[in-house]
């Protein structure tokens, strides 16, 4: 018994049918990172919307913030608010402006360590923030889960910066990236990525 080719194509185009060869999974909503190589590796082609993304790194100053800049610039230019919750240093306004961020939509929140998670959750849940960046040295699974749920309910991008030693910890985040700095170059390693079905693609990307 033979199936006509045209009918098979119809069936394959159905969104419910997944084929391993399909390069991009369209069902993940994402915001482009601004790095074409990285976008190609991520499902949806960028930072997952309405989800928590973790960025793990060992030392400050390895380009952890620059990785977000193109996405943040795009958010602020479209009038969405970007919130820095308890950043470890001063987000330097001239550099942010030079990277294309509209400073009118950039907000910094000062808070103590314990209130940082609460503030981030409030911002995410409110639905009035485009992206919320927070820094946590210690975070347990429950806290991460709360952030993930808050990001979902507020449909915001949650970015959490954590020390590299947290890589071994389980995390409910949709995306986990680790930055490896080596002699002036930085590698981005995808530790975990929800919706990534193609195990053959590389997980490590060399950035300048």
């Amino acid at each position: 018994m033979s199936i006509p080719a045209a009918a098979l194509n119809e069936v394959l185009k159905h969104p419910g049918v997944w084929r391993q060869s399909t390069a991009v999974q369209h069902h993940v909503r994402a915001l482009p990172t601004g790095l074409a190589e990285l976008d190609a590796l991520l499902p949806g082609g960028g930072w997952p919307c309405g989800a928590l993304s973790e960025i793990l790194f060992a030392f400050d100053g390895v380009g952890e913030l620059s990785l977000l800049m193109p996405a943040l610039a795009q958010l602020t230019r479209s009038g969405k608010r970007v919130v820095f919750v308890a950043p470890p240093y001063i987000p330097y306004a001239p550099a942010l402006a030079a990277q294309g961020l509209d400073l009118r939509h950039v907000v910094q929140i000062e808070s103590t360590l314990t209130q940082g998670a609460w503030s981030a959750e409030q911002c995410l849940r409110s639905g009035s923030c485009g992206a919320v960046l927070s820094w946590m040295q210690q975070a347990d699974y429950t806290q991460l889960r709360r952030l993930q749920l808050a990001a979902e309910s507020g449909d915001a991008l949650a970015f959490l910066f954590r020390p590299a030693r947290a890589t071994a910890q389980p995390s409910p985040a949709a995306l986990r990236l680790q930055l490896h700095a080596d002699a002036g170059r930085v590698d981005v390693e995808i530790l975990k990525c929800r919706g990534r079905l193609d195990s053959l693609r590389p997980t490590r990307l060399r950035c300048a």
């Binding site: 400050d60 330097y92 306004a93 950039v106 907000v107 309910s153 170059r185």
Partner: protein, 468 residues
């Protein structure tokens, strides 16, 4: 227009006597010390023969256990004003008449309240809750409503012709005319207003004078009356005193909720919002604790106000036991409500940015939510500031994304220089003199740092930022 008159005939009694005292014969007296006369008595005293305008001595002779207190006109006025504030939620046209009556324009919003019977029930019901039973009448003319309320409680007339008929049956003693005019008309043999209305106008004018004639015209609605309308006060101040001392803040939350609800009602009546208010915690022997509450934008909603004030209260440590609390709001700007889409499907926990910012500020402190801006200065530490600014100065030179609040000595071996130097020399005129050579350097750990050396020096690296 349709005017409802609420006549609180026992207002002087209620101002000087407690509700519980009114079971005994009570009287309000007025006049100079030697010749005090009865102004108002309650039923118990009336039954024993105490009458209006009686000298106090005669009244005491008739009724030995008569409680007599001097009239307090200021308190009466205050009470009437608070009743006017209550009435203001039913109409924007509220007028204080004399010392004991209110006029409310009800015609415009009669449909809103579901017709006069429903509104009357509501007015009487709400007043009964706070212990008032006014005489009430509705007429298309303010003066007529006033006169009718005094004798026909619950009278409703919407048209002028039946109103004139009803007025005609009124005895002239209760017509609200000047006393001289009343006694003159009475002596002539006239008994009701109908007799007076029937007289030819020139004759009447000659006998009772132009002023009484004007009063008659106003009663019939032939001449418009200008009413001084009630305006709600410009400030809100309510306090609650406790029977016992309160040592911790959680029990304060309940009375606080009531204060916030009152404030919200007050604001809704004024169509305003509150941006700055003060919570006062009164102590027994110490000066009151004052907690200032500053909001970014005017607010009106009771729930929101309660949450914000609560946030401030939670961050305050109570040093002494609290005797009473007060909420004071002086600055009441006009509120521009946010536009909401009729079909907007808002998520349950969604907050708009202003509300969110208020909530964060209430929990974290006033200066905790800030915006970043650039500043025109060459010194890196002064090239930024906390401000809401719309026009950034774009610097094309490479700058780090993190700036250290204070530069630190860069530890470890001399770093690898990636770029630089960039000489920054500025500020000799304002005391913040800076002469530095900035470099972009790479540390052993692979971090890109922004570090400087004092101008011309080769050692003494100072870390000032990270290219994060």
């Amino acid at each position: 227009m349709l005017w409802a008159c609420l006549h609180f005939s026992d207002l002087p009694l209620r101002t000087v006597f407690e509700d519980s005292e009114l079971g005994q014969p009570c009287a309000v007296i007025d006049g100079p010390q030697q010749r005090q006369r009865i102004v108002l008595v309650n039923q118990q005293a009336q039954r024993q023969g105490v009458r209006f305008d009686q000298p106090l001595a005669s009244a005491r002779a008739l009724c030995a256990n008569l409680q007599a207190r001097a009239r307090d006109r200021a308190a009466e006025d205050h009470l009437l004003r608070s009743l006017a504030a209550w009435a203001y939620r039913f109409s924007s046209h509220v007028a204080l008449i004399g010392t004991d009556a209110l006029l409310i324009e009800v015609g415009a919003s009669l449909t809103l309240f579901g017709g006069w019977p429903a509104l009357e029930r509501r007015l009487r019901g709400e007043l009964a809750q706070i212990g008032y039973t006014p005489m009430l009448a509705v007429a298309p003319v303010p003066a007529a409503a006033r006169v009718l309320a005094a004798c026909h409680d619950g009278f409703f007339v919407a048209q002028r012709t039946p109103m004139l008929g009803a007025l005609g049956l009124m005895p002239i003693a209760g017509s609200g005319l000047e006393p001289e005019a009343i006694s003159l008309l009475y002596n002539v043999g006239l008994r009701t207003l109908r007799d007076v209305f029937a007289l030819p106008r020139p004759e009447l004018a000659r006998r009772i004078g132009p002023q009484a004639l004007q009063s008659l015209d106003r009663l019939r609605g032939d001449e418009a009356e200008i009413l001084p309308l009630y305006r709600p006060p410009d400030r809100f101040e309510h306090r609650i005193e406790f029977d016992h001392l309160i040592e911790a803040w959680p029990p304060l939350l309940f009375p606080l909720r009531r204060l916030c609800q009152e404030l919200a009602l007050f604001l809704a009546a004024r169509d305003g919002g509150v941006q700055r208010c003060e919570l006062v915690l009164e102590h027994e022997d110490h000066a009151a604790t004052r907690i200032a509450i500053e909001l970014l934008a005017p607010q009106r909603e009771a729930k929101m106000l309660h949450e914000l004030v609560r946030g401030q209260l939670e961050r305050t440590t109570l040093e002494h036991a609290v005797r009473g609390i007060a909420l004071i709001a002086r600055d009441l700007p006009t509120l521009r409500p946010q536009h909401q889409d009729l079909f907007e499907t808002k998520r349950a926990q969604a907050l708009d940015w202003p509300e969110l910012a208020e909530r964060l500020r209430a929990h974290l402190g006033d200066a905790s939510v800030r915006q970043l801006a650039t500043a025109a200065d060459h010194r890196p530490e002064r090239a930024w500031r906390y401000a809401a600014d719309s026009k950034p100065t774009i610097d094309t030179r490479l700058r780090p994304t993190w700036l250290l609040a204070r530069s630190l000595p860069l530890r470890g071996p001399p770093p690898r220089v990636l770029a630089g130097p960039e000489r920054i020399e500025s500020g000799w005129w304002d005391g913040g003199d800076a002469r530095r050579d900035y470099y972009i350097v790479l540390t052993r750990e692979g971090q890109r740092a922004w570090a400087y050396l004092p101008a011309g020096a080769h050692d003494g690296w100072m870390l000032h930022g990270w290219f994060a």
